[in-house]
């Protein structure tokens, strides 16, 4: 099943399960969504549950927040997360803070979702990761699915959650097929928010990644396995709350850790993980410093050769692992 279809079935199942769930965003209804994630939903649920909005992110994000305050469960699609910056006041100042500022009287059960991170050949304003931006803010939960099971289970969990959840999907992964277990095909399949998944078990080094970077980490682990290095790959799934326990347990075993992400290094997800490791008992189990493999600290260039150079590749991960293990 593709990630796109997994997201689509998550939306469909949750809309069927709870009539308070509705989807709104640009072109989500008649056009089936800019990336076809909402295919067929408007036909099935009609105008009242799948709503095309005018092109004004601050406006429809505000509409969605208000609807959540009024007791509905809106799923607010940003055509890409790049455009969510136009609405960031509604996401942070209204959605994330209202439960606290109303002293627990008004909760905002809302999902903000859409493709996040680098796409292909669309340059700086369309290629950036918002993982660090949104994970910074208390009151929000942030999930960043990698494969189809992640996408379905996390989106369903997000829709059922009483707090605002940002679901950071990846455009490049939409069309990729991943196997789905029988359990994941069930309507009751929900993944816990705040729990990471060990994608591959290993004992020499821990690779922590989220979203598309999990792919590079897994590829690198394959490559390293050929040389007798067993890497443990952790797919974070949630960026906030962050499952630091799973990372700590892994480091106790491997004594080495690298983070892999497509976002920028400065104040990034890797920086946070590195700091949390330093503050935990895992620090005393490290044989080498934690190293971050990240996107380059520049806006994303358009041209393909530079775009490849700006994003972490499998070979970068292999290189960094060898360095950390003292093999180079």
């Amino acid at each position: 099943m593709t990630v796109r279809d997994a997201l689509n079935s998550a939306l469909d199942e949750e809309m069927e399960r709870d009539e308070k769930v509705f989807l709104l965003g640009e072109e989500v209804a008649l056009y089936d969504g800019a990336y076809k994630v909402s295919r067929g939903l408007w036909k099935k649920y009609g105008d009242k549950r799948v709503i095309d909005t005018p092109i004004t992110e601050a406006g429809f994000a505000g509409i969605a927040v208000g609807a959540a305050m009024a007791g509905l469960r809106p799923v607010c699609e940003f055509m890409t997360f790049n455009f969510s910056m136009q609405a960031i006041d509604q996401i942070i100042n209204s959605a994330a803070k209202t439960f606290y500022m109303s002293a627990g009287r008004v909760n905002v059960p809302i999902v903000f979702r859409g493709p996040n991170g680098a796409a292909a050949g669309v340059a700086a304003q369309h290629s950036q990761c918002f993982g660090a931006w949104y994970s910074h803010c208390p009151g929000l939960k942030v999930v960043s699915p990698y494969n189809s099971e992640d996408a379905k289970g996390l989106l369903k969990a997000a829709i059922r959650d009483p707090d605002p959840v940002v679901v950071l999907e990846n455009e490049i992964l939409y069309g990729v097929q991943y196997p789905m277990s029988d359990e994941a095909l069930s309507k009751d399949f929900v993944l816990p928010i705040g729990k990471a998944k060990i994608e591959r078990v290993g004992k020499h080094v821990t690779l922590v990644a989220h979203s598309k970077a999990v792919e590079q980490a897994l590829e690198a682990a394959n490559e390293l396995a050929g040389k007798g290095i067993e890497a443990e790959v952790i797919n974070l799934r949630s960026l906030r709350p962050l499952d630091i326990d799973t990372i700590v347990q892994s480091i106790v075993k491997t004594n080495h850790c690298l983070t892999v992400e497509q976002g920028w290094p400065h104040c990034g997800i890797g920086a946070e993980i590195s700091a949390r490791i330093s503050e935990s008992e895992a620090f005393y189990h490290l044989d080498a410093p934690v190293i971050r493999v990240t996107g380059v600290d520049t806006p994303m260039p358009y041209t393909k050769s530079l775009e490849i150079a700006a994003l972490p590749q499998m070979s970068d991960v292999v290189f960094a692992v060898n360095k950390v293990l003292g093999l180079q």
């Binding site: 009242k48 005018p54 601050a58 406006g59 009024a70 509905l72 100042n93 209204s94 209202t98 500022m101």
Partner: protein
């Protein structure tokens, strides 16, 4: 409440292009072709007229036929206007003395708040900006409730988390104030959307609407455009908006002129006339509920007080200007009316003000003496279920406070 917009020049009978289609319809706009090139600007229009009931002499006031308010309500309106005014004076002074960090008064805008509040029900949801304490007062918030919020003490329903005047009451259907300007507009529109659509699936038709208040500054934010556009296009909406204008924020014929451009029925009202505010809001509310369409009220008024305690308005306006408007203060106008119909007197006025002042001062003293919110409230309500990293912080603070309790003024705080 028909709005009159007359062109001074010849218009609708202008030459019709007989070659083109007879009834052109671009994007659903019904208009005729013309060979005459005409530029439209605000000079072509009469400004929208301002609806009022209380005339300048306050004599021979003609109430609309269906205007029904009994004497008790008429007096209650006055009492609430005075309460708001006195509460403002005391809290403003307390900020000046450094007892609270911030305050915003409603002086000069009492009619907009009390008049509109009297015309809606507790079922209706209020999305206010920040200068609508009077609306909450009318709905049943006590003076003590206001004081507790401004002091952020343990009786404050928002647990000391909101800066002063950012009131909220779930019981009174008054959504907690949000500091960023204009967020309440799309949110309020959505609220009425929720009432109008998805909730209607389950519940029987609810005869309620959402009311969004916003000032002219808010109308300059992009969110205002978004909200008007949504309200008009989503077409199943029964929210409406009440606005107050000033000159600096726009050219042209104010905020009301925007209503018809968005396809939203609109009235311009004398915001210093509490009876006109009441009546216009009542008409708007009835329209919204009946037609499931939005409505815009532009209430013309003058903010006599400073914007907030962080502002000194004499830097940008003259004292003559303020003095001029003080003569038209809504409280003065309304009192003259009540006196003219024999419902009020000098003696009653003195007694009322004295009584209210005493009760406000009492609430003020008690709020100041009250314990602060329990320190544990720092950590609650970030999420519905407290996540591990927050509970860890809370327990470590608790341990610390127990160990070093002698060094902290714990007697100021409510016990856990």
């Amino acid at each position: 409440m028909k709005t009159q917009r007359q062109f001074h020049d010849t218009t609708t009978n202008a030459k019709i292009d007989t070659i083109g289609t007879k009834n052109p319809s671009f994007l659903g706009i019904q208009a005729v072709f013309t060979g005459e090139l005409r530029i439209i600007d605000e000079q072509c229009y009469d400004p929208l007229s301002i609806f009022r009931i209380l005339n300048s002499s306050h004599k021979h006031v003609q109430l609309p036929e269906d205007f029904k308010l009994d004497e008790n309500i008429l007096i209650k309106i006055y009492r609430k206007m005075i309460t708001l005014n006195i509460m403002d004076k005391i809290l403003y002074e307390s900020q000046r003395q450094g007892r609270i960090s911030f305050y915003m008064t409603s002086t000069g805008e009492e009619a907009i708040q009390i008049g509109s509040a009297a015309a809606v029900t507790l079922e209706d949801v209020i999305y206010a900006q920040y200068r609508e304490a009077g609306v909450l007062l009318w709905r049943g918030h006590s003076v003590a409730d206001f004081m507790n919020q401004c002091y952020g003490n343990c009786k404050d329903a928002s647990k000391g988390r909101q800066m002063p005047v950012h009131y909220g009451s779930k019981k009174l259907n008054y959504v907690t104030i949000s500091s960023p300007l204009t967020t309440q507009l799309p949110q309020g529109i959505a609220n009425s959307l929720a009432v109008g659509t998805a909730y209607a699936l389950k519940q029987s038709k609810k005869n309620a609407c959402a009311i969004c208040y916003f000032g002219e500054g808010a109308a300059s934010e992009g969110d205002a455009h978004a909200a008007f556009n949504f309200a008009a296009t989503l077409d199943r909406n029964n929210g409406y908006a009440i606005s107050t204008p000033t000159r600096e924020q726009f050219k042209g014929d104010g905020i009301a002129a925007r209503g018809p451009a968005y396809g939203i029925p609109t009235i311009r009202v004398d915001g210093n006339d509490v009876l006109a505010m009441y009546y216009a809001t009542k008409v708007a509310r009835e329209f919204c509920i009946r037609s499931k369409k939005p409505f815009l009220i532009e209430a013309m008024t003058y903010r006599i007080g400073h914007h907030s305690t962080s502002d000194d308005s004499t830097a940008y306006r003259s004292s003559d200007e303020i003095a001029y408007w003080t003569r038209y203060m809504p409280i003065i106008r309304y009192r003259s009316y009540l006196e003219s119909v024999g419902l009020w007197s000098e003696q009653r006025d003195i007694e009322l003000k004295k009584r209210i002042k005493n009760s406000v001062l009492l609430a003020f003293t008690e709020a100041e003496k009250e314990h602060k919110a329990c320190w544990k409230e720092l950590f609650t309500d970030v999420y519905r279920t407290m996540p591990k990293h927050i509970s860890k912080q809370m327990y470590s603070m608790e341990k610390h406070v127990v160990e070093f309790h002698k060094h902290y003024p714990l007697h100021f705080f409510k016990r856990a």
